[in-house]
């Protein structure tokens, strides 16, 4: 099992190294976006997965990193001496400073109040970015250009790709090392039982503030790479969607597995890239995937992979067996059912469809989907959609791949451990 994961990692590494030679420009651009999203999600997960602190306003530090880097690029263009490859450090530094301030405020409270403070601070930054056109460039945003550094030219997408790849590897090494360090141990202790950590002599508040700042720094570094790649920054970055997407990536990938956020970021970024061309409703599907993950596989895809690997290693099951194939088929049936439902409903609700109905004297044209025509007035269409969705879901639940969420499961109440009151 261990050797398989090494082989897998080597294969991914080899693919990433040769990608510019085998892939086109679009694939390089996509890979850059994936790596940036992955770094951002890893930074977010340092706070969530390691320290157990939920931030719902991480777009702020990402955006601050982007804008700081744009200003640094401008300075280099005007004759500054900072080497272009080190630009992401400007984003990281900006993220760190703002993270230190925000973290100091947010860690005054814990749990849901902590999360609320992070949201409030992100909204505050966003509001300032909208109003302060002189700094954030208003609706048109800011632009700058990449400068070459010594023998290194940064004008091509390929050069940006390799720069991003190097930084992605460095960030992963740093975070992996941090997780295993003594400081990382204290951080994980805080996630488990903060009160215990305090009574062991550690200043939990300071530790949390520093973790917050480090998490914001990694997010800012991701933002810096975005600035280098796009050569622009826009206040849209500060909006809530950015904060939501990083949570989504981390949940889908799995917060308790180191590479989980990377998997999530890769999947959703690719899904957005291809899905947006295929369907108007790709965001809806992403939302469904998120809800399904939270309800049925709270450990995420990464968690599921790790669990499967553990079972295989323990000899409890084969790597792939018949029930996997059944589950996979059921999943596909459910997804196809969902797609039929969503696309047909979505299409007949659209303005253009209603216009088509009106111009066709009340005839409802068929909806084209996956090379087939679906008549919205035929019950068969709806039977196929609802039936596929229900059948697939039923098989998944029956097979036990997906579990009912705990509040729908019938379980015996756990017996609380006695605290030994006086007899």
């Amino acid at each position: 099992m261990k050797s398989i994961s090494y082989i897998l990692m080597a294969a991914v590494a080899a693919l990433l190294i040769v990608l510019p030679y085998v892939g086109d420009l679009a694939s390089q651009n996509l890979a850059i976006k994936v790596m940036i999203a992955a770094i951002f999600a890893l930074g977010f997960n340092l706070l969530w997965g390691q320290a157990g602190l939920p931030s719902f306003g991480h777009a702020a530090y990402y955006g601050i990193g982007t804008f700081a880097t744009i200003y640094a690029m401008e300075a280099i263009d005007k004759g500054g001496f900072l080497p272009t490859p080190l630009l992401p450090l400007v984003g990281a530094a900006a993220g760190f400073v703002f993270g230190l301030i925000a973290g100091w405020f947010a860690t005054i409270r814990t749990g849901v109040y902590f999360a609320m403070i992070t949201v409030a601070l992100a909204e505050l930054v966003s509001a300032i970015a909208v109003k302060w056109e002189g700094v954030f460039g208003g609706e048109s945003g800011l632009r700058s250009i990449r400068s070459d550094w010594g023998p290194f030219a940064f004008q091509t997408t390929t050069s940006v790709y390799y720069l991003t790849l190097v930084w992605a590897v460095l960030v992963m090494l740093f975070l992996y090392w941090l997780q295993g360090s003594p400081f990382g141990l204290i951080v994980r202790g805080i996630r488990e039982r903060e009160l215990r950590v305090k009574f062991l002599g550690y200043d939990a508040r300071k530790v949390k503030t520093l973790v917050f700042a480090l998490s914001a720094a990694v997010s800012g570094l991701a933002g810096g790479l975005l600035a280098i790649s796009d050569e622009s920054a826009n206040m849209v970055l500060f909006q809530g969607a950015g904060s939501a997407f990083v949570v989504l990536n981390t949940v889908i990938g799995g917060a308790n597995v180191f590479f989980g956020p990377v998997i999530g970021a890769a999947l959703t970024t690719c899904f957005g890239y291809f899905g947006a061309n295929l369907s108007h409703f790709w965001m809806f599907y992403l939302g469904v995937a998120f809800v399904a993950t939270v309800l049925f596989a709270p450990e995420g895809i990464g968690g599921a992979i790790v669990e499967r690997a553990r079972q295989v290693r323990a000899g409890e099951r084969a790597l792939l067996n018949l029930s996997d194939i059944a589950n996979l088929s059921a999943l596909i049936v459910a997804i196809v059912g969902l797609i039929i439902l969503v696309e047909v409903t979505g299409t007949i609700c659209s303005e253009s469809y209603r216009a088509a109905v009106a111009s066709g004297q009340g005839v409802w044209p068929a909806v084209k989907l996956m090379g087939l025509s679906f008549n919205p007035l035929s019950p068969l269409t709806w039977i196929a959609g609802i039936g596929g969705l229900l059948l697939g879901t039923w098989v998944l639940l029956k097979q036990g791949l997906a579990k009912w969420p705990s509040f729908l499961r019938r379980t015996e109440l756990a017996q609380p451990v006695g605290t030994g009151e006086a007899k």
């Binding site: 360090s181 488990e192 039982r193 305090k198 009574f199 062991l200 006695g418 030994g420």
Partner: protein
């Protein structure tokens, strides 16, 4: 340094208008094993939380090794030399047993911000951690997750962590809560061994444990100390019998 480890002078605590503790005076000598007993609602847990820094006293002073600790935040009180356990087990479930103990030992060696495991001090930390594991018979459990251990083993880990910070005053909150008679016997021996040479204050309901382990006992009734004395004196006292032992007569 005086031979008094912990001293409380007219310590009082109110929650709103409710006076939970009034005018507590108590001195605990170095190396003493002291038990706090009393009926439910007498204020034992409150007193325990005041000493360990979970709450600040409303009035009065708490002195540890000559330094006032009343109202300090928990990590400062810990660094002043006080370690506490919890009534409900507070171990780090998802960390290994060794990591649990190491977390408590690291701080004692001043490694509270360390990013690297380099240098001779880490050899000392590792050695100390392994010694504690060895002493608690937990060596074979070292790489298991603490959450996967049996309840009595988790209690042992908790006591190891409390001792591991190097504190010379150990506060144990019902160390035998929820244990069988046999496990309790083990824990008494274990506590005696682990707290050798340290000062121990514990809240305990089990009278066998109290009379077995404590050098002196304080009886708390309605927020006041009714009396302090040796187990024999406590057992013989009529007031204590009436106020406390009488109602749960053997």
């Amino acid at each position: 340094m005086s031979d008094i480890t912990l001293s409380l002078a007219s310590v009082a605590k109110s929650f709103g208008i409710v006076r939970v503790l009034e005018a507590i005076d108590l001195e605990i000598a170095r190396g003493e094993r002291h038990a706090l007993i009393g009926p439910n609602g007498a204020g034992k847990s409150t007193l325990f939380n005041l000493i360990s820094g979970a709450f600040a006293p409303t009035s009065g002073t708490i002195t540890l090794n000559g330094a006032a600790i009343g109202g300090l935040v928990p990590h400062k009180i810990n660094r002043a030399g006080l370690g506490r356990s919890f009534q409900i087990t507070h171990v780090f479930d998802k960390l290994t047993v060794r990591e649990n103990i190491m977390l408590s030992v690291m701080g004692r060696f001043g490694k509270r911000w360390s990013l690297l495991r380099r240098g001779p001090v880490w050899t000392d930390i590792a050695r100390e951690t392994d010694a504690i594991l060895e002493g608690a018979n937990l060596t074979t459990r070292a790489h298991k997750r603490a959450g996967d251990l049996a309840y009595s083993e988790q209690r042992a880990v908790e006591i190891c962590m409390t001792v591991g910070t190097g504190a010379d005053l150990i506060l144990l909150d019902e160390p035998t809560a929820g244990m069988s008679r046999e496990e309790t016997e083990h824990v008494i021996t274990f506590i005696r061994r682990m707290t050798e040479g340290r000062t121990l204050v514990m809240v305990e309901h089990d009278m066998d444990v109290v009379f077995n382990l404590a050098d002196r006992v304080s009886v708390l009734v309605n927020g006041r100390i009714l009396m302090t004395g040796t187990p024999a004196e406590i057992r013989a006292d009529a007031r204590v019998k009436e106020a406390y032992l009488g109602e749960g007569a053997h």
